[in-house]
């Protein structure tokens, strides 16, 4: 049984290859189909048509599409994602440098969402039709119907401008803090590793509002799923057995019901995480978060192909890895799936 997990991981990675190839092809074509001309953009408004042509040629954009594609793929094979026209830096290095910021934010949002949504869902399921059930419904509906840029702005307005509880929405650290030495790229972890409590406090304070904004968006699906799944499990036969055995209500609720009810929630989490990766783009913009989302938006506006392609490819790979992680996690919780692995 123990050897089946690496085998499954290998098989799943292999099975993900076609999707990655499709992502490469589609993003390449889509970026080419986007309106806007990078050569004209970089030449500037005052450039002569000849100058634009010259830039186009130097960028290789005058070559036929298949040739461009071939050189793009050849670059990818060497691990070269191309070079950003805006910054002049290699895309791969820039994404790697910005990725931890996005992942830290997304994970923080997801953890916050879980901390809110799972207890909410359990409370709603144990008392269906009560005020707490209706309250949970209102909170989660509000969370999912308000767009993240709006909740982000609202949160900034209330907690920074009106109340002054939160720091200015200006990235991962306040102006006076210095970034901890990079180990994982997650400031919360790196600052603790460096025993720099000042940096930790600053990073934490900066993270709260964007993570909350992101998390609020994820509360609804997780809470609804927890409630539905918990309701199903609580009415199942084995819960009746547990109650007939006189097990304490806490034991029945958590050790028996919740562990079973979490199985579909784990599956939902994979989906929610990918929503969050998408929602991230807007939240990063609102909070000036130096992640890959804001990088992608800026590049998109500049018709800078390489970073956009690099961003989408990174997202696709993250998504594949994430779903793999979820499946492995699922297998660890549920003994029944180990057999098929």
């Amino acid at each position: 049984m123990a050897s089946s997990v690496p085998r499954m991981v290998g098989r799943r990675l292999l099975a993900a290859l076609p999707s990655i190839v499709a992502v490469v092809v589609v993003t390449f074509l889509l970026t080419r189909a986007l309106p806007g001309d990078p050569a004209a953009f970089f030449a500037g408004p005052a450039a002569t048509p000849e100058a634009v042509e010259a830039i186009r040629h130097s960028l290789g954009l005058d070559r036929p599409l298949p040739v461009q594609f071939a050189s793009y793929v050849a670059g990818l094979a060497r691990g070269d994602f191309g070079t950003s026209l805006t910054t002049g830096q290699p895309v791969g290095a820039e994404i790697l440098q910005r990725l931890p910021a996005s992942v830290e934010l997304t994970l923080a949002g997801l953890v916050l969402a879980l901390l809110i949504a799972v207890p909410l869902g359990v409370a709603a399921a144990t008392r269906p039709g009560s005020w707490i059930d209706h309250g949970a419904r209102v909170v989660s509906t509000a969370g999912v119907s308000l767009p993240v840029f709006f909740t982000g702005l609202l949160a900034t307005y209330v907690f920074y401008y009106l109340l002054g509880w939160a720091p200015a929405p200006m990235g991962r650290l306040d102006l006076f803090a210095t970034a901890p030495p990079t180990v994982t790229g997650f400031y919360l972890i790196d600052s603790l590793l460096a025993r720099d409590l000042e940096a930790f406090r600053s990073a934490f304070a900066q993270l709260v509002l964007p993570a909350l904004t992101l998390g609020l968006f994820a509360v609804a699906p997780i809470a609804r799923m927890t409630r539905a799944s918990m309701l199903g499990v609580l009415s199942s036969d084995f819960i009746r057995t547990a109650r007939a055995s006189g097990l304490s209500s806490g034991k029945v609720l958590f050790a028996y019901a919740l562990r079973n009810a979490l199985l579909p929630v784990v599956t939902t989490m994979g989906m929610v995480f990918s929503f969050l990766l998408g929602a991230n783009v807007l939240v990063e913009k609102v909070f000036a978060w130096p992640g890959i989302g804001s990088y992608a938006i800026e590049s998109l506006i500049a018709s800078d192909y390489a970073p956009v392609q690099g961003f989408i490819l990174t997202m696709a790979i993250l998504y594949v890895l994430l779903n793999l992680l979820i499946d492995v996690l699922y297998g660890l919780i549920d003994p029944r799936v180990r057999i098929d692995a």
């Binding site: 057995t241 007939a244 006189g246 034991k251 029944r336």
Partner: protein, 322 residues
């Protein structure tokens, strides 16, 4: 029966609130059970057998309300007991095994752990002792290689094995009362017999009283000292097993016996009971069997009906008993 009964159900009425009205699932159910005795509760699906057992265990559906009656277990009223007291009794003094053993066990917890949970809750053992007792229980229900099987999950076992685990779980704390709710439904015939023999043996060993709930009159006849027949939420007849079969007094019991396959009777000769259980919503006639009964007379639709003794230890709920 001698001395105070172990379990005394007295005039128990229970109804369910549903969207389409109140379902009077049990009415004035009166039954008692002596220590070490085996009582069969038989009846068609929907006659209230399981509802009765869930009410005794205090695990009724939230929509159920007890409208009258008492359930005394060793003199303690279970219906008014606090949930703390009830939890201390359940699993320790009284236990239950269910139909569909495969879904009655937690699918993602090793079976040994589930038995340990009950032992840790009631028996005041350490984890290691509970572990040992759990394996010992699995051995007692004749599960081969119990040490290894304790780590198995329910999906890795057959239905019969799961029911053995259920029995081990129920009997782990040596309860005085076991309620077996259709324990052999869904198992093949040889497994059925093995499971029932196991329950019988363990009950005799520990002087445990058993309520066997079944729709199978033959099964009840084989294993029970007394049999209570239920119909549409009423207990229509209670009698010692031999007497019930030799001289049934309620027309429904007689029909039920006539529908039970036995040697020398072909399937064609078995007569189905006409009609269906009445709708238990709204107002019901005093005799809920009257509409299906061949012996109905105006007196049947008269005043309230009360169970009376047709013979010593033989009660019947009928205005015109056989």
């Amino acid at each position: 029966m001698t001395g105070t009964p172990l379990l005394d159900i007295d005039g128990l009425s229970l109804s369910f609130r549903t969207r389409t009205g109140t379902v009077k699932a049990l009415e004035a159910v009166t039954l008692s059970l002596a220590k070490g005795e085996t009582l069969g509760v038989v009846g068609e699906s929907g006659s209230g057998k399981s509802v009765l057992s869930f009410a005794v265990m205090g695990i009724s559906d939230p929509a159920a309300t007890v409208t009258a009656g008492r359930v005394l277990f060793e003199g303690q009223d279970l219906l008014t007991a606090s949930s703390k007291d009830l939890n201390a009794l359940r699993g320790a003094e009284m236990a239950m095994i269910f139909q569909n053993p495969r879904v009655a066990l937690n699918p993602i917890r090793p079976v040994g752990r589930q038995i340990e949970d009950v032992l840790l809750r009631h028996a005041g053992l350490t984890r290691a002792e509970a572990r040992e007792r759990a394996v010992e229980m699995l051995r007692r229900v004749r599960i081969p290689d119990p040490q290894r099987r304790a780590n198995a999950y329910p999906f890795e076992m057959s239905g019969g094995m799961c029911q053995r685990v259920m029995i081990a779980l129920a009997l782990a704390c040596s309860p005085k009362l076991l309620i077996a709710d259709e324990p052999t439904t869904g198992l093949d015939v040889t497994t059925q017999a093995a499971i029932m023999d196991l329950v019988d043996d363990l009950a005799k060993e520990t002087q445990m009283a058993t309520i066997l709930i079944t729709h199978d009159l033959g099964l009840a006849a084989q294993h029970c000292d007394r049999i209570a027949v239920m119909h549409a939420g009423h207990v229509v007849e209670v009698a010692p097993t031999a007497e019930l079969f030799a001289a049934p007094r309620h027309p429904y019991t007689a029909r039920l016996i006539a529908t039970t396959p036995r040697p020398g009777v072909t399937l064609d000769a078995l007569e189905p009971i006409p009609g269906m259980l009445p709708d238990l919503r709204g107002t019901l006639p005093p005799c809920r069997y009257a509409a299906r009964c061949g012996r109905r007379e105006p007196v049947c639709d008269g005043g309230a009906l009360a169970a009376h003794l047709a013979a010593p230890a033989h009660s019947v709920l009928c205005a015109r008993p056989l």
